[in-house]
C-alpha cells in the first residue's frame, strides 16, 4: 500500500469516532431521549449552519474573530521566539527574565481579561493582548528549550567555520530549533483560540464568541450550536493548516 493510501485510510479511521458521536446524538434526538430545545439534533444544527453560510451572516463575526486571533497569535509567536532565543543564548537576559516569566506564566490568562478591560478598554487592544498573553508562553518556553537543547556539535561546527554570532542565530540556531518552536506554536494555537472566544464573550461587541453568548441569552439554541460548529471547523481547519506547514518546514523531524 502506498503511503498516500495509508494516510487516506488513517484519516478515514479518524472520522469514525466523531461520526459515531453524531449518529448517536441524532438517533437519541429523533427518539426523544434528549430535550430537543436544549440539545437540537445535529441535522437541524447543520441546517442552521448552512443558512448561516448561505445568507453570508457567518462571515463578519468570523472575520472579526480570525483577525483578532491572527494579530495576537502572530505577535505572540514573534515575541515568544525572540525572548526564547535571547534567554537561551544570553545568561544575563536569562537571569533577568526567567523570574518574571515564571511569575506570569502560571496565571490563567482568562483571569486577566477583566484587568485588561480596566487599562486597555473594552475593545481590540484588550483582545489582542489577551491572545498574546495566552499564546506567548508556550512559544517562549519551547523555543528556549529547543535552543538550549541543541547539540553542542552543531554549534561547534558553526564556530569552526568562523560563523559570527548573529549569523549563527539566523542560519543555525533558529532553523535547528524549528521543530521545537513549532511544537510550542501548536500548543499556542489552541490556547489563543480559547482566549479570543472568551474575550469576545466578555467584551460583548462582535465575533463568534459574542454571537454564541448572545444567542444563548436570547435562547436561540439551534443557532448557538451552529456557531459552535463554526468554531469546530475553524479550529480543525487551523490545525490542518498547521500540520501541512509543519510537514513542509521540518521534513527532517524525527529522522536525525
Amino acid at each position: 500500500m502506498s503511503w498516500r493510501l495509508k494516510a487516506l485510510s488513517a484519516n478515514l479511521l479518524g472520522l469514525i469516532s466523531p461520526a459515531s458521536v453524531l449518529c448517536i446524538w441524532e438517533t437519541a434526538g429523533a427518539l426523544g431521549w434528549i430535550n430537543p430545545v436544549l440539545l437540537p439534533r445535529p441535522s437541524l444544527i447543520l441546517r442552521s449552519l448552512v443558512d448561516l453560510v448561505g445568507d453570508g451572516a457567518v462571515f463578519s463575526p468570523l472575520l472579526h474573530t480570525i483577525a483578532l486571533f491572527a494579530v495576537g497569535y502572530g505577535l505572540a509567536c514573534v515575541i515568544g521566539i525572540c525572548i526564547g532565543v535571547a534567554m537561551a543564548t544570553n545568561q544575563v537576559l536569562y537571569g533577568l527574565l526567567e523570574p518574571l516569566t515564571e511569575c506570569i506564566r502560571p496565571i490563567p490568562k482568562s483571569a486577566l481579561v477583566p484587568v485588561l478591560f480596566l487599562f486597555l478598554g473594552i475593545g481590540r487592544a484588550t483582545m489582542i493582548t489577551v491572545v498574546v498573553l495566552a499564546a506567548v508562553f508556550p512559544v517562549l518556553i519551547s523555543t528556549f528549550q529547543g535552543v538550549r537543547g541543541l547539540d553542542p556539535v552543531l554549534l561547534e561546527t558553526a564556530r569552526t567555520f568562523q560563523v559570527r554570532r548573529q549569523r549563527t542565530i539566523f542560519s543555525i540556531i533558529l532553523p535547528a530549533s524549528l521543530p521545537m518552536i513549532l511544537a510550542g506554536m501548536r500548543v499556542a494555537l489552541g490556547l489563543g483560540l480559547v482566549l479570543v472566544i472568551l474575550a469576545e464573550m466578555l467584551a460583548g461587541e462582535d465575533g463568534v464568541g459574542f454571537r454564541i453568548l448572545d444567542l444563548q441569552r436570547s435562547f436561540q439554541i439551534r443557532d448557538m450550536f451552529a456557531w459552535i460548529f463554526v468554531l469546530v471547523l475553524l479550529g480543525g481547519g487551523l490545525m490542518m493548516l498547521f500540520d501541512v506547514a509543519e510537514r513542509r518546514l521540518v521534513p527532517w523531524r524525527g529522522r536525525t
Binding site: D151, V153, E156, T160, F161, I172, A176, W252, T256
Partner: protein
C-alpha cells in the same frame, strides 16, 4: 597550503567541587605541515578534548596550542573539524550542496556560481555526484560523513582535525572513507590530525602515531609508521611491518598504569 600545529606543555584541569580533575598533564606534541598525525589512547583519556583545543573550541588550562606562528585562542580559519557525530554536524534543513556551500557563504554574490561549481566538484571528489539536492537525512551514514568531508574541503583546510570520524559507520564503509580521506590528503596536502581508538586505522592512515596513557593523560610514546604510500587497504594491512606496529601499539594500549612500555 598547510600549517604546523603544535601542542606546547598543554595541561587541562577541570575544576569541580572539592578536587580538581586533571584531564591531561603537560602534553607536547607537534604535527608538521602536511603531516598525517594519529593520536591513539584508551577511551576516556580525553583525545577529543585535545583535538577541540587544537580547533580553538576549548582553551587549555596551561600551555598553548600553536598554529603556524600564532597561539590559538579562538577557532582559527582553515582549521576544520570532522566530527564523529556527522549527522549532528550537518544542517538538516539544507540540501547537500547548500551544506557544502556553507563555509563559502561570506563570499560576494557575484562569485556564487563559480563557488557552486567548485562545491559540486568537491561532491564529485567524495563520490556524491547526483545527490546535490538531497537532504542529509535522506542519505546513509557513510554518505552523510562524505557530505561533511566535502564541506570541510570547501573551507579550504590547512589543518583537518578528524575526531573518530569513521567509528559510527560499518566496517566496509569505514575502509572506503579511510581511502577517500587519504586520497584527498595526498591531493590537497593539508595537515591532518586523527584521533582514534582504532590502532589499525591509525597505522593505515598516519605518518606518525602518538600514544596517550590513561588518566591523568600524558604522552606515552610516538612511533614512526614508515609504511610506503599510497597505502592500500589490503597490501598495507598485510605488510609484516604493519602487523608488527599493530602488535606494538596494541600491547602499549592494553598495558595498565602509566608506566612506559618497552619499544618492540
Amino acid at each position: 597550503m598547510s600549517e604546523r600545529l603544535g601542542f606546547e606543555h598543554v595541561t587541562k584541569v577541570y575544576e569541580s567541587a572539592g578536587a580538581d580533575f586533571v584531564a591531561f598533564d603537560d602534553i607536547t606534541l607537534e604535527a608538521s605541515p602536511s603531516e598525517f598525525l594519529a593520536i591513539v589512547g584508551p577511551s576516556g583519556c580525553g583525545k577529543s578534548t585535545l583535538l577541540k583545543m587544537a580547533a580553538g573550541l576549548i582553551p587549555p588550562t596551561k600551555g598553548k596550542v600553536q598554529l603556524g606562528g600564532n597561539t590559538v585562542s579562538a577557532p582559527p580559519p582553515g582549521v576544520i573539524y570532522l566530527f564523529q557525530q556527522y549527522a549532528k554536524s550537518l544542517f538538516a534543513w539544507r540540501t547537500v550542496i547548500d551544506n557544502v556551500m556553507f563555509p563559502l557563504e561570506g563570499a560576494p554574490r557575484s562569485q556564487r556560481a563559480e563557488l557552486r561549481a567548485r562545491c559540486e566538484d568537491y561532491l564529485r571528489q567524495v563520490g556524491l555526484s547526483g545527490f546535490e539536492n538531497s537532504y542529509p537525512w535522506q542519505l546513509s551514514g557513510g554518505m552523510q560523513q562524505r557530505v561533511a568531508i566535502a564541506r570541510a574541503l570547501a573551507a579550504d583546510p590547512q589543518v583537518l582535525l578528524l575526531d573518530e570520524p569513521f567509528s559510527a559507520v560499518d566496517a566496509l564503509t569505514r575502509m572506503e572513507l579511510q581511502t577517500l580521506v587519504l586520497q584527498l590528503w595526498e591531493r590537497r596536502k593539508f595537515t591532518a590530525i586523527l584521533v582514534t581508538h582504532d590502532v589499525e586505522e591509525a597505522i593505515f592512515l598516519a605518518d606518525r602515531v602518538a600514544v596517550l596513557s590513561a588518566r591523568p593523560t600524558s604522552l606515552k610514546e610516538i612511533i614512526d609508521v614508515g609504511l610506503p604510500r599510497p597505502r592500500d587497504q589490503l597490501a598495507t594491512r598485510e605488510d609484516p611491518r604493519f602487523l608488527k606496529l599493530r602488535h606494538h601499539l596494541t600491547t602499549s594500549l592494553l598495558a595498565k598504569g602509566s608506566g612506559h612500555v618497552v619499544a618492540a
